[in-house]
Subunit: 306 residues, 2 copies
Amino acid sequence: MSKLLIVGTVAFDAIETPFGKTDKILGGAGTYIGLSASNFNQVDAGLVSVVGNDFPQEYLDLLHEKNINTKGIEVVKDGKTFFWSGKYHTNMNKRDTLITELNVLEHFNPVVPKDYKDAEIVMLGNLHPLVQNAALEQLTKKPKLVVLDTMDFWMNIALDDLRMVLKKVDVITINDEEAQQLSGEYSLVKAAKIIHEMGPKYVVIKKGEHGALLFHKEQMFFAPALPLADVFDPTGAGDTFAGGFTGYLAQQEELTFEAMKNAVIWGSNLASFTVEEFGVKRIAEVTTKEVEDRLEKFKNLTNFSL
Amino acid sequence: MSKLLIVGTVAFDAIETPFGKTDKILGGAGTYIGLSASNFNQVDAGLVSVVGNDFPQEYLDLLHEKNINTKGIEVVKDGKTFFWSGKYHTNMNKRDTLITELNVLEHFNPVVPKDYKDAEIVMLGNLHPLVQNAALEQLTKKPKLVVLDTMDFWMNIALDDLRMVLKKVDVITINDEEAQQLSGEYSLVKAAKIIHEMGPKYVVIKKGEHGALLFHKEQMFFAPALPLADVFDPTGAGDTFAGGFTGYLAQQEELTFEAMKNAVIWGSNLASFTVEEFGVKRIAEVTTKEVEDRLEKFKNLTNFSL
C-alpha cells in the first residue's frame, strides 16, 4: 500500500446550474480528491482538513466507507464548516461565486497525522499557499511526488507565497486562464515553460470540457475530456481529476512520463463521472466496471493508426 | 489519381491579429482548401470559384504550381474580387469582421468543368447553400463523398436552403457554436445526433485551438489541435482542415470510419501550419518532411498505453 496524503477543503456547497440547484451538499476539494483517489484500492489515502461541528456524521461515514483516513480532519467545536455557493452560466466553463463563508477555514492550521508524514505522494488541494507549505513542512521523509493545485485568487493576493511553495512541488495542476495569468503568456506552450522555471517539473493545464495538457521539458501530452450528452454540474471536476491523477501514481513503482500520461487519462476518466450529477453523488457511487468501461472509451476516442 | 472537386471562394483578405496586420493578401476558403489538398500528390484537385480582373496572375500561378486545376475559376471582366477584412482578439478564437465586399461573389454561378463532373470527392467550401447546391446539380456521377462546410451566417439568412442541401451531403464540417446553433443543443454529443438526422452521416465539429470531434452513429473520435508556441493568424485554419480532410480521403480506397479518423488527423496536422504565419504563406511553402515530422508529433500527443 502506497500512502497518499491529501490536504484540501471539506465543505458545504450550494450549486446552481442551468439544470437545477442544490441546497447545502457535501463539497470541498479534499472531498473530491479523496473520493476520486479511493478508486485505486492499493492506495492508503489520508485527508487533512478542517470542519465545524455542524458537519454531519454521515458525510464522515461516507469518507470512511471509501477507506479514506479522516484522522487528519480537525473538527472545530463551535465552528462552522466552510461554505461556498456558485452559479454556472449556460457555458458551464464559467461560473459566478455567490457566497464564500470561510468559517473554520480562516484559521486552518493543517496537522498531518503521524502515519502520513512519510507519504509517498502528496496532493495539496487548492488552499492558501502558506497552508499548503505548512503541510509540506511537517513531512519527515521526502515524498516521491508533490502535486499542487491552486487558483487565480491566490495569484492575486498571495503571489509571493505561491512562488515560494511552487519551488517545492513536482507537479502543478492549474487551469488555462490561471496558467496564462501566472506566466504572463497567452500560449500554453510558452506558459508551461515559464511555470516549469518556477519549480514544477510537470505542468498540467486543465481546460475543462476541452481536456488537459501535460508538459514536461520538451514533451507534451494531451488528454481529451470525454464528450458527454449531459453535464449537470462541473463542480469538483478539477479536484476529481487531481484525485485520479495522484491515486493512479500512488500505485506506480516508477513515476516516468508514461506513468504521468496514464495518470492524466485516469484523472480525466474519473472527472467525467463527477460532472454527470450534482456534487459528489456520481463519483461516490461509481463502480469499478463503469470506470473500466469508460477507460475503453477514452482509448477509442483518440486512437488512430497512421 | 482520384479527383477532388473544390467549390469555394478565392479572395483578398486583410487581417489584423495581436501580432500584426496585413494589406490585401491572397485568401478565400477555396484557396486554403486547394493548397492544403495539394499536399496529397495522388489527388487531382480542381477548384471552382470566381474572381475579378483585379486578381493577380501571380496568385493563379501559385495555384498552378501546386497542381490545382483552375479551369473552374471564372474571371469576371470589370469585376472586383471578393474582399474580406477581419480583426482577431487576444483570444484568437474570436474575431470581428471589419469589411465584407462581396463583389463578383454576389452573382457567383459556379460552373463545374467537364473533367470534374465525375469527381470522387466533392468539397463544398463555405458559400450560400444554393451555390453549393448548384455545383452538386452539375455532377454526372454520384461522388463517393460530398463534404460541406458552412457557417452561422447561412443559418441566419438561408436556413431552409441549407437544410435542403444538407440532405445531399455525407459530411458536414462546422464549428462548435455553429453546431449548437444549427441543432439547438448545447451538448456537442446531442448536437451531432440532431445534425446526423438532417442528412450528413459524419459530423465534424471544429473547436479551433481545442481540436476537432468526429461523430458517426454511435462512434466518436477526437483529434487535438497541436499546441503551438506561436499562433499568428487563425484565418483559413478551418479551410485548411477541410482540404487536408478531403485530400487524404481522395487517396483512400475505402471510406471507413478509420479512414475518416485519419482524415481528421491530417486536417488538423495541415491546419497547424496555416496558423503559424499570416495568410497562405506557411501552408503554401510547407514541405513533405515538415508535414511528416508533425504527424509524428500528433501521434505522440495523444498516444498512451493503458
